[in-house]
Structure formats: C-alpha cells, structure tokens
C-alpha cells in the first residue's frame, strides 16, 4: 500500500464523520421546523402558537444551554474517540504499510542489485573471455609471424652464405690462377711450352682453318 492509499483512507474516514454530524444536525432542525398543511392543520395552526410556545418552552426547558453543552461535549468526545481510534488504526496501518514498503523496497532493491550484479558479472566474464580470445589470437599471430620471419631469415642467411661462398671460391680461383701465372708463367721457356701450344693449336685446328677459308 502506498501513501496515496493511506491518505485516501484518512480522507474517507474524515468525510464519514462529517457526514454523520451533518445529517444529525439536519434531522433535528427539520423536526423543529415542521408545519401542518391541511385544514386540520389550519385549525391546528390556531393552536400552533400555543403548542409552539409550549413546545418551545419545553424544548427550551429540555434543550437548555447545559444540555446542549453536554451534547456538544458528548459529540466532541465521541468525535475525538473516533478520531483517536482511526488515528490508531491509521498509525497501525501506516506502520504496517511502512514495514511492507521497507520489505518491498528492500526486496526490490536486492532483486535489482542481484540482477545488476549478475549482469555486471556476466559482462566481466564476457570481457574476460573476449580479452583471453584476443590474447590467444595475438599469441597465435605472433607465433605465426615469428615462424615466418625465422623461415625467411634462414632462407636469406642460407642464400647469403651460399653467395659469399661462391664469391669466395670464384675469387680464390682467380687468385690461384693469377698466382700460378705470376709464379711460373715467366719461368717456363717457350721451347717447353711448344708441346702445350701445338696441342692447343691441334684442338683449334678446325676453327682456324674455317676462319682462314672465310677470310680468304
């Protein structure tokens, strides 16, 4: 029950009390103001002033100031009693409502918090999983890159090594040839070279003949 309901109850109670008091006062006023309308009433109307006077006297005698005061007091007391009772009920109801409201609020807040915590926890788990997946992918990519780089470096190193070795062999062959020529070239007599020269001429005989024929 909310505060609006409580205020509605209080308002209804106050309206009921006000209505009771109003109708009590009206009924008393009508009884006192009632008049005869028929012929008999005309006759009676003649008697009316007397009756009225007598009644007023009686009324004044019965409902004198003390009696009215007593009635007022009794009404006030009755009203206070009703107000007190209603206030007590209202207080009890209010306490109960407050308690229920607290329980309700606590339960709602707890439920909402639980839900939010669950969502938050789920978000953290998802984020963690996402981060783990990302890290795993990164590690895999890095590993692949490393392997590729390693292969490339090995290939390149191998190629460079082979190139250096080939160049070294080439240069070394040139150096050896040069050394041999410098060392023994001038030391060999042409007579000793004749055999080699004639052998070389024999090897190139066909080409020499061909060229001389063409030249001629």
């Amino acid at each position: 029950m909310d505060i609006g309901g409580i205020l509605l109850i209080i308002g209804a109670a106050l309206a009921a009390i006000a209505a009771i008091l109003y109708f009590d006062w009206r009924s008393r006023g009508k009884k006192l103001a009632a008049k005869p309308k028929d012929t008999k009433a005309v006759e009676a109307s003649k008697l009316a002033p007397i009756v009225s006077q007598t009644a007023e006297q009686d009324v004044e005698h019965i409902f004198n100031e003390d009696f009215r005061e007593e009635l007022r007091n009794r009404g006030r007391l009755h009203f206070e009693k009703i107000i007190g009772e209603n206030a007590m009920f209202l207080q009890q109801d209010l306490r109960q409502t407050t308690t229920q409201l607290n329980d309700y609020m606590r339960a709602e807040i707890s439920r909402t918090l639980q839900m939010e915590f669950k969502k938050y926890e789920q978000s953290i788990v998802d984020a963690k999983q996402l981060a783990l997946d990302s890290m795993e992918k990164t590690v895999t990519t890095i590993e692949q890159q490393r392997q590729l780089l390693e292969t490339q470096m090995q290939t390149q190193t191998e190629a460079e090594r082979n190139q250096i070795i080939a160049r070294f062999e080439e240069q070394l062959a040139g150096i050896v040839n040069h050394y041999v020529m410098q060392a023994i070239g001038n030391q060999i007599d042409l007579s000793d070279q004749l055999e080699f020269i004639i052998a070389e001429l024999e090897n190139n005989k066909a080409a020499i003949l061909e060229d001389i024929k063409r030249g001629a």
Partner: protein, 175 residues
C-alpha cells in the same frame, strides 16, 4: 710435254711478310745491278751478294739467280705469296727463339695452309702459351685461358679441401 704445276717451296725461315719484302728488295737490287752492268759494258758494277735465304729459296724452287728471267719469276712468286698467303698474328709472353717459330710455322704450313705467314708480337700479360689471331677470330691459347677453363675444377678442389677441413678429425676407431 705435260705441264706440271710446281708448288713453290717456302722455307720455314721465311716467317712473315717482312722476310718476303726483304727477299724482294734483294732481288730488285740484283736486277738493278744487272741492268747497270749491261748498260756500262765492261765497267762492271759489283752486284750485291745474295743472302743465304735467297739462295736457299731459289735453289729449293729451281730458279737461277744469275738470269734475269729466274729472278723475275722468283720475284713474281714471292709477290704472289706476299699478297695472297694467309697472315696469322701470334703473341708470346717473351721473344720466341727461331727454333720455336720454325716449329710452329712448320706445323701451321703442314696443317693449316702451305704458305702461312706469321706476324709475331709480344704480350707479357699472358704468362705462358700464346694468343693466335686469324683474320676474324682470336684464339687464346695462353696458360691464363687454360687456367680459366679449368676454374670449375679448381673451385671443386678448393671446395673439397674446405669440406675436408671442416669435417671432424677421424678417431682411432675409424682407422
């Protein structure tokens, strides 16, 4: 009488055009002296003595150096050789001895052309062997070229030696 075309015998001492030119000059001098003697009638002008090479050439081919016809025929034959014989240029690292040149020329005239003439040059850079230049080609028959041809074999030898050097030394158990 059947005409037999006689092959002109060119001695190996005549190596190149220079030698032929010298012989031709010699023949011309002899011819000039002969003409002068005929013109002066009695006041003989000493004719130049023919060189051994000229005598040898004339004897080898049956020409009389004393007769004008023989000299003219010899001169014509030599001039023909001078103009038409194949000329090869050969370079050596050092000055070749006459024996070497003769041996080479003998081979060339036996195997390449009977009137082959040589022009000899020097190329110290070739080390050993020779470089032969024909009208259109150059044949590098030097030691350097030969070594260059054998380069793959040399590289193979070097590689083998390097691998042997890299291989672990054999243990006692391997022996």
């Amino acid at each position: 009488m059947a005409l037999k075309k006689k092959i002109f015998a060119l001695p190996v001492q005549i190596t190149g055009r220079t030698d032929i030119n010298r012989l031709l000059r010699e023949l011309e001098q002899i011819e000039q002296a002969s003409i002068s003697n005929a013109a002066t009638k009695g006041k003989a002008i000493a004719a130049p003595e023919p060189s051994n090479m000229l005598k040898q050439v004339a004897a080898a081919n049956g020409y009389e150096l004393g007769s004008s016809d023989g000299r003219q025929q010899l001169a014509a034959a030599l001039a023909k050789i001078h103009d038409h014989a194949p000329l090869l240029h050969i370079s050596f690292a050092s000055e070749p001895s006459p024996k070497v040149v003769e041996t080479l020329l003998q081979w060339l005239r036996s195997n390449i052309h009977v009137y082959t003439l040589l022009q000899i040059g020097l190329a110290p850079a070739i080390g050993a062997g020779c470089v032969l230049r024909t009208p259109n080609k150059i044949f590098d028959l030097s030691l350097g070229a030969s070594l260059q041809k054998q380069k793959p074999y040399l590289v193979q030898l070097i590689k083998g030696a390097a691998l042997k050097q890299q291989a672990p030394a054999p243990t006692a158990g391997d022996k």
